[in-house]
Amino acid sequence: MKKIATICGYIWAVLCLLIVLIMFPGLGFFSKQLASLPFMKINPIYSGGDVEQIKECKNYTLQIHKPVFEALIGESSEGFIQISWIWKDSLPGILNDSIDYNTDGKPDFIITVYTTNGDIQINPLNEKVKALIASAQTENGWIARIKLKK
């Protein structure tokens, strides 16, 4: 019994050494395999949620994301919606878009972005739309998150 335990111990120890050896050359492969698992996705609180509507405008593409009401279990009573603009050629001075995130045919809010100084105005047309919670200029566009109530 002791001999078997000794042999198993050594085999396990050598396997550990092999794990270190294959870890780095196989890192790309293992990472891809892990990334393909269903839980390997960034939570919408951080990713902004899936893009639900795309509008092609003259100077930019407007992306309206799915509203995010994430909670550990179920849904939160407060959430946000992410709006992204992607420039086509150059940065427009002012962006002014009416957003209908619940696709009921009526705009829920109007958002105006003054790209020169970063000012953003929200004009809520739906009582569930609250205030701007985050915004930033990205390499080729602009992102804004607006607080929503359920």
Binding site: A13, L17, L27, P38, N43, L72, T138
Partner: protein, 391 residues
Amino acid sequence: MKSDKVKLPPYTTAGKFWKSLLICLPMIFITFFFLTGGEPDFSDTTNSIAFILVFLFLNFLFFKIIYTGKTDKFRATGFILFAVFLSLVFITNMVETREGMSFSSADLLECNIPFCHIVITMILIPIVFTNSIIFPGSILDGFAPVSTMLILWILASIALGKGFCSWGCFYGGWDDGFSRIRKKPLVKNINTIFRWFPFAVLLLVALSAAMTLTPTYCEWACPFKTVTEFEAVTSTETLIKTIIFLLLFLGLVIVLPILTKKRIQCGMFCPMGALTSFTNKVNPFDVRIDKEKCKDCGICEIKCPILSLDPTSIEKGKTHFVCSKCGKCIDACPNQAIHYHIKGTPVNKRNTTARTLFVFSGFLFLAIFSGGTFQMGIIRIINILTTGSFF
């Protein structure tokens, strides 16, 4: 040289040059392969200098580990420099790409934040409930994506157990380094109850992250933001966060390790250390104490940087399960009673094979993981010395 030989531990390789070199040969080939990326190219002088320096440095350290039979001093040299070089490379990268050490709202909204292994402690409960990762990083692309860091930690934990904290963690070298500055500690007799602190931090961090779906430790308590990146100070809240992480770095990573000669951040605060401790249960390597040789002098207990030795564990003939296998106690024991051991194999004797297998695995991980960083760091240093710019 003769007097050295007398002091050498009774490993079959210790003091035997050719036998040690033979054991080092695989390390020499493997490091050559990884440092050159499998395609040696010596056309660029700076790159070649960086490669040669790193290759020689790493193999010198490993040779010394085998030849002298001493582990900790040479491991720590590589480990500490890895932490310093990683910060150097990371910060210079940040300065190049973001013009400073702080990340912006755009980086957060675009999920461009590098993932580090400590975040794993916070994503586990949310993964179960939300089926997603609560971190503003990338799953597969960019620098330090989630999947790569997860794989690295999982495999390193299987192969080294908590040895990851002394052989692979790119933060651990900071307090390991500061804990070596003084010859003798000013604050002695640290109560071993503090070894449970990281578990309490882990409990709170895991619960609070699940509760808020935010990586709370990263946001509020991670001292290593001081040497990597942090949120830009744009409000009173971010100012308070900045003060907290700076104070934690100053206290846990610099001042307390200097005063106590212990790795305070790693052994008494880091939630990842607590989580990684459990991997010691599945890892085949551990550290044992030969009760016949042990004279209960207590030197190992004083030397252990993370409180994994106390009279109870010495009585049991093994280190506590929080042991990070740094080898400090093994080197310090005047009676050579402490040794690396493979579970299942006979105890109570210094076994060259067990030691060689563990230090080979540990050092190989450190060498491959740190090699690129060392090379990059040296290139940056050469650049700043010759051109006045890091790039």
